[in-house]
């Protein structure tokens, strides 16, 4: 198993090396400056340039050392150059391509996720206190509607607000041509954001509220909460100290994981609304087999995930004294 894996690595390396050789020899043979050289001199020149290039790329180093080089490149966001895709400004640098799309996705999906998170949190808290009321039953009834995806609601919203009422744009991020005035530009982007944000809120907020409601209900029937109630503590205090406090670790986990995954965007929603974000970039990169872009996106996500999980460990210890002292 291991040797097979090593074989793979070696053969990939061989492919990359032969690509380098091909690139260098074509550039040397096509360079008019070297026309006067004879065949042996040319071949020597190719060999010398090839060895230098291999050294520069670090292909002469053992696998272990190269892995650390890759790690350094990834950590410094030195993600190399894309094969086919280029940024709107015409750059082939993977970092520039990703950074150009990132603000669009953060603007749309991080906003949406934040909204969803807080709607779920406060809605759930509110409903858990009004168990059995009409509004609580309505939300529970609406929860199954979250089994439909966000983009699906998007289709309906486009139909209603863009096609029938003609109030909002079909898609895109800004009017064409983009307004030159900065305020008008922001307003136009805001107008284009309404439908995608609404489609996700419609799709996911009811289930979000419902699951939080269940979560809080379970926690508020714990014995220590009953005891606090029996002691006659004010409702507000019970909620803050006896219900919210112990439920904080899972809520914080949810919050941070949602935030970091939101920047990957959503491929289908961005396709339906023609939103130029990371999701579309992911789709384009996958469709054109632009490996450096895909690897770049996945690597950033993996590092962000690792950092978040690490930070979460510390946050847990701060939030929960049992973890701090090591008492189970």
């Amino acid at each position: 198993m291991l040797s097979e894996h090593a074989n793979d690595v070696v053969s990939i390396l061989r492919i990359m090396k032969s690509e380098v050789l091909f690139r260098i020899s074509t550039s040397v043979y096509q360079n008019p400056a070297y026309r006067t050289l004879n065949e042996t001199a040319l071949r020597n020149l190719v060999n010398r340039l090839y060895e230098l290039e291999i050294k520069k790329l670090g292909f002469d180093q053992p696998f272990f050392v190269r892995s650390f080089n890759y790690l350094r490149d990834a950590l410094t966001l030195d993600l190399g150059r894309s094969l086919f895709l280029s940024s709107d400004s015409g750059s082939r640098s993977v970092r520039i391509i990703i950074l150009e799309r990132l603000p669009n996705t953060v603007l749309l999906f991080t906003t949406t996720q934040l909204l969803l998170f807080f709607i779920g949190l406060f809605g759930g808290l509110y409903l858990s206190r009004r168990y059995g009321s009409r509004i609580e039953r309505t939300v529970s009834l609406l929860a199954p509607f979250s089994s439909l995806s966000g983009w699906f609601y998007g289709l309906f919203l486009i139909l209603i607000f863009a096609s029938v009422l003609r109030l909002l744009p079909y898609g895109g991020m800004v009017d064409i041509p983009p307004p030159t005035d900065r305020f008008a530009y922001a307003l136009s982007v805001l107008k284009h954001m309404i439908l995608p944000v609404m489609s996700w809120l419609l799709a996911y907020s009811f289930l979000g509220i419902y699951t939080r409601r269940t979560f809080f209900l379970i926690f508020s029937s714990e014995d220590y909460v009953e005891v606090a109630r029996a002691k006659g503590l004010p409702d507000d205090l019970i909620r803050r100290r006896y219900i919210l406090r112990p439920t904080l670790p899972p809520i914080v986990t949810d919050f941070s994981l949602t935030l970091i995954s939101s920047w990957l965007g959503a491929i289908v929603t961005e396709t339906v609304f023609n939103w130029p974000g990371i999701g579309r970039l992911f789709y384009e990169a996958a469709a054109f087999f632009d490996t450096p872009v895909i690897v770049g996106l996945v690597v950033i996500y993996a590092y962000l995930l690792a950092v978040t999980v690490f930070v979460l460990e510390i946050v847990y210890a701060v939030l929960d004294p049992r973890i701090r002292t090591g008492v189970a």
Partner: protein
Amino acid sequence: MSSRIRENLRALTSYKSAVIGLAVIMVLVAISIYTVITIPYEEAVRLWRAGEQHWLDTPRNAFPSWYSSILQKRLPETIIKDTTKPGPGVYKVIVQAGEVVRILRIDIDFRFDYDDFPSEINIFYSVRFNRSVPQITMTWTKPDGTTIELRKFTPTSDGAYYVSVDQGLTSREVERVVAKLGSRPNYELSPTISLFAVEDRSILESDRVQVMKGNYRLSVEGLLFDPQSDFDVKLVVYGKVYGWAGTDHLRRDIGIALLWGTPIALSFGLIAAVAVALIQMSVGAVSAWFGGAVDNAIQRVTEIFIVLPFLPTLIMVQTLYKVDIWTLLLVIVALLSFGPGVKNYRALFLQLKESQYIEAAKSYGAGSARIVLLHLVPRVIPTMIPSIVFSVADFVFLEAALAILGIGDPRTPTWGKVIQDSFYGGALFKGLYYWTLEPAFLLLITSLSFALVGFALDKIFNPRLREA
């Protein structure tokens, strides 16, 4: 066991939402069975992939027939008259006129009393001759007796005369109207309208033009110069409605895709949901039971799969191999085998592993395989049924999402494909809402009914949610 199932079923039927959900699922299953029996799969694929050649006689982007009753207006159906298939209103005579020359006369009569204009008019013809090409003249007679010469030509081979887009006829018609009424229409008067319109001042304005109801006639006169010569026509006056589901931009009957989408969506969702859950559970069980190096290896692999972007990986597989929907299903199951669910199941099994009945099994010498398969896994299955039912909806939507991205199965007609066609065919721009809404509605009721059943099951199997 069976009594327990019956008991759970009874509990399930006490939830009104679950009963509705189950009823809808039953209907969908019935539709699936009906579809699979009446339209064989190969036939469906052939019809869907045949392109326009197969669908010459159906209107493009026609509304479903029930639109007529909603709009309180009789929208035209397609009228087809063929001289090779004689029927009412089709007359063809050939008379000898001299030694070799014969005269052909075809009259096609039909009644048109709809409230709207047809969408297109085509005349398909076939011709037979040895040396001399027949001479053909086509004329159109309206109910009020107005006759219009459509075309005079010598057809050298079989072909079609697209009346609606004949530029010469269009300008002749406009001039005729101008000569008759003294002013020019304020819109582009196409033959499709002028051949069916009431010719008073209303024809000059696009929103006032009216259909002249009554008996129409297409006459074809021909001179045949060879003894074997023959000429046949098929008149197709395309309507604005077709079938119960309408047609798409390639004139295909959307109903076929809607029908066939049902068994595909159901089986795709069910198989994927059950397979993914069972595999994830088994992997979790193995990981928890054996512990140590096995556990470590499985957990590391799982973490890699969690970071691996699911949809982009699928996109790459599909762009590279263009696999059909069932291979795609396999790929999805394979990609999700080590998904995040493994972690949850492992945690569950770690708890179960310490319980006393496992201890007992160990003490009478049960092997690992026996304990995992007979004692651990069956114990967890009831608690996972709700989540399996939930995830059916997710997988049905996944198929649709892949189709929207243009990477679904290239052959099979599915709901997602219809939505994609409609989305890129501009259905929402052009107001062809039925095209998007019909498959969307089916997707909606399918996933909603599974979700309703899932929620009810969740309350039955996890009573902690049912609290006071």
